[in-house]
């Protein structure tokens, strides 16, 4: 046996050596791969990069032709620096200083506590009769506040819709004697996003004592009833008017029981106090995230995300109803805020059956495109539906303005206008059907001289 073993030895040895060699090589290979995937090798990159490269290569091959054509077309532009299409907007704005870092130990506050604002304001109004807070018998001075980011929208047509939206607001406010403040400044970096309106509203209330009501309106909300005047008398004993339903807020604790996209706030001490009570869930970062969890837990149907001003207001009213509830009016008789989803398909039906001036489901005052986010890259609804419906809502409102001058859009989807009546050599005899040309709510007080 030994002899046999010895005889077979060299062959066996080679075999064994080979096998060992194979195993060793295999182990070495495996080690290298594992090391590469974890630590990564500078020049040759990780396998993930390889994968990406391969994918890109395949993609590139598929789209090589068109891309090459586009690039060529651009480089043959003789006056490249005069061409807006080749300009990179990110080069435009310059950030010159550092953001101020808030003190983490101090609790957030909108500003120093003001008490006695009602007296201060009353004194000021007395001393300044040229700036009355009521511009008519039942007509308070109203400031409509809206705004958008100072940077260009991420979505290429976002700014165009912002222009149309502000034109729409300019038209309504011109007819109703309301002033507009278009905000493009972030007053407080901690309250960014939907919370940015709180420091802004406080600042405007305190800087404009002549304003009786501040009307906040989101940039994605449009006026669709140009003839409807807000029933100011109804709110003489209230300070905060929002669209919503008492049952949905107080009984169901539903997070969409009210809407903070369009609301009225009286300029008074009570309002400053409720702003202070509203603000604590706003500061971005840990506070807002934690607050979001509380809100999702406490409110019905609320999805999981950071605290927003609307949910915070529902929570505030639900938990402190006895403190704030009596001065809050949840209006549902007309669409101070009208959710677009249930309104936009019915415009033609409305035109056929009803008329402007109703403000409710028959002819909504405001159509609010919640969730569309036309300025951002992604919204909660399909892009096409959102943009096309925004065009329709805009035209629906614009028709009411154009008819004053004898024009109308060719259709709710069309940008073009056509005449509804011929020019005449007697322009002052023209009938003003909707009464919007010289509306009663714009009439100046006739002074008895």
């Amino acid at each position: 046996m030994l002899e046999r073993c010895l005889e077979a030895r060299p062959v066996r040895q080679i075999h064994r050596a080979l096998r060992h060699g194979k195993v060793a090589l295999l182990c070495l290979f495996v080690t290298i791969i594992v090391l590469r995937s974890t630590i990564g090798a500078e020049k040759s990159g990780t396998p993930e990069q390889d994968f990406d490269e391969i994918r890109d290569h395949l993609h590139f091959r598929r789209r090589a032709e068109p891309r090459r054509v586009l690039e060529e077309a651009q480089t043959t532009d003789a006056t490249n620096i005069n061409n807006y299409n080749t300009f990179d907007p990110s080069k435009l704005m310059v950030d010159e200083e550092e953001d101020e870092k808030p003190d983490p130990n101090k609790p957030y506050s909108l500003g120093p506590k003001i008490s006695g604002w009602d007296e201060q304001r009353a004194n000021w109004l007395e001393k300044n009769p040229d700036f009355p807070n009521f511009i008519g018998p039942n007509k308070p001075r109203v400031l409509l506040v809206t705004g958008s980011s100072p940077k260009p929208c991420e979505n290429p047509v976002g700014d165009h819709y912002l222009v149309k939206s502000i034109k729409n607001k300019i038209d309504y406010c011109r007819l109703h004697g309301i002033e507009i403040f278009y905000n493009m400044a972030l007053l407080d970096a901690e309250m960014a996003g939907f919370w940015a309106k709180l420091p802004l509203i406080r600042k405007l209330l305190l800087s404009h004592p002549e304003v009786e009501f501040l009307w906040w309106m989101d940039s994605d909300a449009m006026f669709t009833d140009m003839a409807f005047e807000v029933p100011w008398q109804r709110y003489k004993d209230h300070n905060f008017v929002m669209h919503g339903w008492n049952e949905m807020v107080y009984d169901q604790k539903n997070w969409i029981g009210l809407n903070t996209g369009s609301f009225l706030l009286r300029n008074c001490q009570w309002s400053l106090d409720i702003l202070d009570a509203w603000a604590p869930m706003g500061p971005k970062g840990k506070i807002r995230t934690e607050a979001g969890k509380i809100l999702t837990r406490e409110l019905k149907d609320r999805p999981v995300f950071e605290a927003d001003d609307q949910s915070a207001m529902v929570y505030l009213l639900v938990t402190q109803r006895d403190k704030w509830g009596d001065k809050v009016y949840l209006e549902s008789a007309y669409y101070l805020h009208g959710y677009w989803g249930i309104l936009v398909d019915r415009y033609e039906e409305m035109i056929e059956n009803y008329h402007p001036g109703l403000g409710d489901h028959r002819w909504p005052l405001v159509t609010h495109f919640v969730g569309c986010k036309p300025c951002g890259k992604f919204g909660d609804y399909p892009v096409e539906r959102c943009l096309k419906q925004m065009d329709r809502a805009f035209n629906f409102g614009d028709n009411q303005i154009l008819q004053i001058y004898g024009f109308t859009h060719k259709s709710l989807a069309s940008r073009r206008v056509k005449r509804t009546r011929n020019e005449t050599d007697n322009p002052l005899e023209v009938k003003d059907e909707l009464g919007l040309l010289h509306p009663a709510f714009k009439a100046v007080k006739v002074s008895s001289s």
């Binding site: 005069n82 100072p150 976002g158 165009h160 034109k167 305190l206 004592p209 050599d425």
Partner: protein, 455 residues
């Protein structure tokens, strides 16, 4: 031993290191020279190693490429689809064509024999207007001693060729809203082509006429281009200076009458009194406007007669200069204003903003602190401008922030720099904000000046 060994060797002819002739001899066995038990063992070993290697391979692959990434390519494709869909919709929105418009293709032929008119001739507008004002005292043309002004501006109804154009339209309208709120002026922002024939820069003519006739309570109509920005928020137009005039425009008499220059005046910012004279001037101004052969031919006449004018179709500015030069009787009621920048050509102004902030103050309206900075030639809504894009846009941003600083002053803020969208505090919050309102509200200084009711 010998026999066994012989047979073993013979059978193991394959097992000794030479090429295994497996199938025939061993009947399927891998290593025919080896005893059966051993063989099974060996097979097991190999299997084990194979499985182990396979396992390790899977682990390694998963660690590097990852299963998630394969799913990631789906999300990537979805993203790509979304972007393509958006682009398609954008292209549709941007295009001027209207799928629902049956008249789109059928263009009405302009008959060159019929003179174009803005509307039926009105000859008694002054009397009509006065009668209306008497009948409607609640819509007076003077409020608190100040004439009622209507600022008119506009832009095309479709999105700009480039998104940055729309962004600057938005900033420009915010700028106008701020000035007009402070000075009690109403705004009409036009997004409709009222008259297909007078499109482009001529579109303001039918619009102005329409607004004059519909709003007799308006005393002055102020047209302002969408690329003009207010840069002096305090300055107010000295309307009393124009009591004997009906048309106020920025311009220079010597450039007009001696040099006949095509930029002797600027129709980007001007005021028209609401009266018969203005209607007549508009009627006399319009004939060069109708697009097509009329506008082209008129363009040639204008280039031939005005100094420095390039060859292109007739524009409203050149046409007005030509009209005023040819029919000098119009000049009786035209005021060529140049003591302040009712229109301020941007190139000579935008670099000096920092110097202005250092040396001067708002309210001057002239070269020390321009009333209006007008970005002629920049054309941010189109694809090409007459100047480098970066210079134009940066200058517009600077002008916007320069003006915005004057508005934010009341609230205690200013921009961090003229190119910065962010703001910084210049005044701390206080528990008695009204003292600053008295000090910084621009309207206080404006109203207090004209009103004699101050105690």
């Amino acid at each position: 031993m010998g026999q066994e060994g012989f047979t073993a060797i013979k059978r193991g002819g394959a097992g000794g290191g030479s090429i295994p002739t497996t199938n025939r001899l061993s009947g399927g066995r891998a290593f025919p020279g080896i005893p059966r038990g051993r063989q099974i063992h060996k097979t097991f070993n190999n299997l084990k190693i194979t499985i182990l290697c396979g396992f390790v391979t899977i682990l390694v692959l998963r660690g590097t490429i990852g299963v998630g990434n394969l799913g990631g390519s789906d999300a990537e494709a979805e993203n790509q689809n979304l972007i393509e869909e958006t682009n398609r919709i954008l292209a549709e929105i941007r295009s001027d064509g209207d799928p629902s418009d049956p008249d789109d293709t059928a263009e009405v032929e302009i008959n060159p024999n019929v003179t174009y008119t803005l509307g039926p001739k009105i000859s008694n507008w002054d009397e009509e207007r006065k009668a209306w004002l008497d009948r409607n005292p609640e819509f007076p043309n003077y409020i608190n001693g100040k004439a009622r002004i209507l600022l008119v501006t506009g832009s095309p109804p479709n999105p700009c060729d480039n998104p940055i154009g729309d962004h600057y339209l938005l900033k420009a309208i915010k700028n106008k809203i701020d000035y007009c709120r402070i000075h009690g002026i109403e705004i009409v922002y036009n997004l409709a082509h009222l008259d297909k024939e007078l499109a482009g820069y001529w579109a303001k003519l039918p619009l102005i006429r329409r607004l004059m006739l519909s709003h007799p309570e308006v005393e002055w109509i102020w047209w302002m281009d969408s690329d003009a920005l207010f840069t002096d928020m305090v300055f107010e137009i000295p309307l009393s200076k124009y009591n004997d005039y009906n048309f106020v425009v920025h311009g220079y008499p010597d450039l007009m009458f001696e040099q006949k220059s095509w930029i002797a005046l600027n129709t980007g910012s001007f005021l028209f009194r609401n009266c018969q004279w203005s209607l007549d001037l508009l009627d006399d101004w319009a004939p060069m406007g109708p697009k097509g052969p009329i506008r082209d031919e008129a363009g040639k006449i204008l280039t031939a007669n005005l100094k420095g004018r390039p060859a292109f179709e007739a524009d409203d500015q050149s046409a007005l200069i030509y009209l005023l030069i040819s029919k000098k009787e119009w000049m009786n009621k035209v005021f060529l204003e140049n003591s302040y920048y009712l229109h301020g050509y941007w190139a000579g102004l935008v670099d000096r903003y920092e110097e202005m902030m250092e040396k001067y103050h708002p309210g001057l309206g002239d070269e020390r602190w321009p009333f209006v900075t007008h970005f002629v030639g920049c054309k941010p809504c189109g694809s090409y401008g007459d100047y480098p894009v970066e210079r134009c846009l940066k200058s517009m941003e600077r002008a916007f922030n320069f003006a915005d600083n004057q508005v934010l002053k009341l609230y205690g803020f200013r921009h961090r720099g003229l190119l910065s969208p962010k703001i910084k505090r210049i005044r701390n919050e206080t528990a008695t904000p009204l003292e600053f309102v008295d000090q910084f509200d621009i309207r206080r200084s404006v109203v207090g000046g004209t009103d004699s009711k101050s105690p």
